[in-house]
């Protein structure tokens, strides 16, 4: 039984099989991401009611919050697949991890930029050492560290394993960092009561937010598959099946 599952996993994770399967999946993810994204943005920017305190400027949360969620989600995905790659020697997992990092970094960057744009009307300054913004900034540094290590080791397998270990160490550290920053922040200026801390959010605002969050996840799925496919082609460029594929073009 176990052997059969293991065999199945290995077959699915073989680069060739992944290449053909993912090629069929990408359009679905991409189309639904675009559809949901447009719908969510329209609902969020034009239909959702104006906030009673922050007026129109709160609408940035429809981008900021999904981006912030994604930044953490992708880091965890990265660490988990790096762990799978490290323990079970599945190359595909390493490729997914490597393909995820820049996407995660971009989401983190977007969360930071929109967060500080939101900060201007809310706090009167673009940058405030708010606990969330600070955590995001450190998360961005963690992504940079991963990518720097990945690109500075020549041998691809070694690079995957080394940066994978770093991602895992980072994931152990994230709760500690998060707690430290939060605690440091409450000590210095008091927790900022942001809209989302309250359990209730008006349903007309909540739905577009959730739609945007799902759209972001689908977008990530599409992009990570595209990037991982590129990795597969590049890394397997000396294999027979890739050569045949190229000749067909």
């Amino acid at each position: 039984m176990f052997k059969r599952i293991w065999g199945w996993i290995q077959r699915f994770s073989s680069p060739k099989h992944f290449y053909s399967i993912s090629g069929k999946m990408i359009p679905w993810f991409a189309i639904s991401a675009i559809f949901l994204g447009v719908y969510g943005l329209y609902m969020g920017l034009f239909v959702a009611p104006t906030d009673y305190q922050q007026g129109e400027s709160y609408r940035i949360i429809f981008i900021h919050v999904p981006a912030a969620w994604m930044s953490m989600f992708i880091y965890v995905v990265m660490a988990v697949s790096a762990g799978i790659g490290l323990i079970w020697q599945i190359k595909l997992a390493d490729m997914i991890a490597a393909a995820s990092a820049p996407i995660g970094a971009w989401f983190t960057f977007i969360a930071l930029v929109t967060g500080s744009l939101w900060g201007k009307p809310m706090w009167g300054a673009y940058w405030v050492w708010d606990a969330r913004l600070t955590s995001e900034l450190i998360l961005l540094f963690l992504y940079f560290g991963y990518m720097a290590l990945q690109s500075s080791i020549e041998d691809q397998r070694t690079a995957d394993k080394a940066s994978g270990l770093l991602a895992i160490v980072g994931v152990v550290n994230i709760p500690i960092i998060h707690y430290s920053v939060q605690w440091w922040n409450t000590l210095h200026q008091g927790a900022t009561v942001s809209k989302l801390d309250k359990p209730s959010m008006h349903v007309d605002m909540l739905i577009p937010l959730l739609v945007m969050a799902i759209a972001a996840k689908l977008f990530y799925a599409a992009i990570v598959l595209v990037r991982a496919r590129n990795q597969v082609l590049y890394r397997e460029r000396n294999r027979q099946w890739v050569r045949e594929l190229v000749e067909k073009l």
């Binding site: 080791i153 550290n173 500690i176 430290s180 605690w183 440091w184 000590l187």
Partner: protein
């Protein structure tokens, strides 16, 4: 196992004392950086007192970071690291020995000289003991976590900047709690919480960082 720990520790200490001039470098760096601040900002006691915990802690952090190279670089370059990995003893124990030696040679001197720098920066007398304790609990973590980073980057040419890039974000909790403990102690308040937290991180780092370092070394050796 204990024997292997002791032998490696003794070897590293002996090696360090054979090249004593290098031994003092991190310490001098630490003192130098701290004394740059009064020159750069202003030597007014009020301002320095506010900045002192942060300045001393950041300098300690950078000083440890610069000395991390010493941990595995030489052993990597002359092949001794391969021999360590082919030892019948658990690599984790050997890593612990090397990290402990590193701390004795860099962290401990920083702890010992810190009171002097505290005086330079007008840290109130009642906070000096907190400064020592926080460094005593925090600097071993810097060595332990740093070891992971060095073992990942030891094979990379010019890995110095890369090392800081991957290690500094992981140092942030220690910096926050260490500096804050000194800050709070200057106001004459209890810092039990901060010190306990630093001790917790130390316990966690001692248990997990050598494991991660051992894995990292195996990855690096697989060249």
């Amino acid at each position: 196992m204990l024997k292997a720990f002791y032998h490696l520790l003794a070897r590293d200490l002996r090696l360090a004392f054979r090249s004593r001039h290098e031994l003092a470098n991190p310490l001098i760096f630490f003192v130098l950086v701290v004394s740059l601040f009064p020159l750069a900002v202003t030597p007014s006691a009020d301002l320095l007192m506010v900045m002192a915990p942060g300045v001393i802690w950041v300098s300690a952090l950078l000083s440890v970071l610069l000395s991390l190279d010493r941990l595995f670089k030489q052993d990597y370059e002359d092949g001794s690291l391969d021999q360590l990995m082919l030892s019948p003893n658990p690599l984790v124990i050997l890593v612990l020995a090397k990290v402990f030696a590193h701390w004795l040679l860099t962290g401990l001197p920083l702890v010992l000289i810190a009171p002097l720098l505290g005086m330079f920066m007008y840290v109130p007398d009642e906070a000096i003991s907190t400064l020592i304790f926080s460094l005593l609990l925090g600097t071993p973590v810097l060595s332990l976590v740093g070891a992971i980073g060095v073992s990942l980057t030891v094979a990379v040419n010019r890995g110095g900047v890369l090392l800081s890039l991957i290690i500094l974000p992981l140092y942030i909790p220690i910096l926050i709690f260490g500096a804050n403990a000194v800050d709070v102690a200057s106001d004459g308040m209890s810092v039990r919480g901060q010190l306990l937290f630093l001790a917790a991180v130390l316990a966690l780092a001692i248990s997990l960082a050598p494991l991660a370092t051992a894995v990292a070394l195996r990855i690096t050796a697989s060249r």
